[in-house]
Symmetry: D2
């Protein structure tokens, strides 16, 4: 689909670098967490419906395409939705330079998130308003390259 992804710019920290002098591979997932927190508030409202009271991470998949060094410019995180089922959805990401900085694509990733009812400690169905918000963000599958090679 020709959906335009949702962009969140996430600032780096000097401490995101590891002893190799590059942003550490685990910190990429940390940057995605921050992008989600910002995006979910925009998508689902400040009542924290899906953000803090009702979603758990079930799965991550990430491919690293280029080394990222610390700089003061943020990293752009493009997000879209690749799958919606009864109680879960898949969120895709591309981490890339903001336009004014460059054109490098650093990583592709995908997270499976499960709607959760912390009161009953069990998954719950996505509500109609949540499904509507997610459908508006639907896009194509993530073109992972390594998964094919390793399966």
């Amino acid at each position: 689909m020709s959906q335009t992804p949702y962009r969140v710019d996430v600032p780096l920290r000097w401490s995101d670098m590891d002893a190799y002098g590059h942003v550490n591979n685990v910190q990429f997932l940390r940057l995605l967490e921050d992008a989600r927190v910002t995006a979910f508030e925009q998508w689902f409202g400040q009542g924290r419906s899906l953000l803090e009271e009702g979603v758990v991470v079930a799965r991550h998949e990430i491919e690293y395409l280029a080394p990222l060094d610390f700089r003061h410019a943020p990293i752009g995180v493009d997000m879209w939705v690749t799958n919606i089922s009864g109680a879960s959805f898949d969120l895709a990401y591309e981490l890339r330079d903001p336009e004014e900085v460059g054109t490098t694509l650093y990583a592709r990733a995908e997270t499976t998130l499960v709607a959760y009812d912390f009161a009953t400690v069990s998954p719950r169905r996505l509500r109609p308003d949540e499904r509507a918000a997610l459908k508006a963000l639907a896009g194509e599958p993530v073109p992972f390259r390594w998964r094919v090679r390793t399966s």
Copy 2:
């Protein structure tokens, strides 16, 4: 294959918990990093051959199966090798309670690692001694459950 996986016990930190009071999903990858650092020194020797001078992370995949709370007992990380190609290999993990603590399986994961020559800034072929060490750790594919559902 009936290979016995290689076990490394990794201590948790109180700060691995996030605002939900559970070990944060990103910190699971941090625990895997520590397990790799310890294991690679055992597998490839202290000369840091593959550990610090010659390997980059190309890909992670992880599925979360049970919430993990901070405790003083370490988490057991079982590791085995699921694929070996010319310049890369796939490392599988299961994070589980040590026997004396319980029987919970918290997560399954897989990392693709590429042998790298930092002098020429390019991938390099695995050396025969590295291939031999990896072959001795060969095991079955990771039984990921979510990948099937989302593909």
Copy 3:
């Protein structure tokens, strides 16, 4: 002195919170690190003279005055210089709400930084241009409250 401090706004991350749901006390030091990295580039130039090639942290002191919760608004870090000697200087900080957010003062801190020559692995004297930059930022001692009580 009535020096106006140098202000750097530092974004928070959701992961700065610990299991209590507040920004963790150790993460306050992480925020100060980020403020220094940004400020040093402004004060000493992008050649990284003092920033990355020539300064080590010798000491931190910090007092916590109010709990800080995660929010999308950054934290304002006011910085000034409280002491300059031959090879070191003291940097003072106050962490407070940006004007448009509130008036809370969250912490006061001070860091002793030593100019360092990594080539000779030893402290070095501050250069005249570095001293001039620091003198322009000179201000009053940090009004620590707990130090008096505990000494």
Copy 4:
């Protein structure tokens, strides 16, 4: 006083290193947090009396004496109590090599901790059993070197 300090060994993580290749100065405070969590459970019991339900960090002071590199051996954290008042106490630390590793002293630090009643959101007096546990750990003031120079 000739009190023998309480020793907790804290494992390092590879990720404690920053881009300089040394354990980052902020991570030293993280190691102290872990040492406190372990020690408080020993000192005050697993009922989490002071550990998780009733203490907040009011102040840190730390001096760095030697660079610490990542290694598989843990860092030894010696702890003792330097001050006890109605609602707070000061905890001193020295971070040093375990005996079998070496004799380097890496840092000295001190934390002021305030007993806190989260139900009433206010400081509370130390209980007699808490005071007794702390008195048994009483020791001499921390011989900070930089504080004198900077005051």
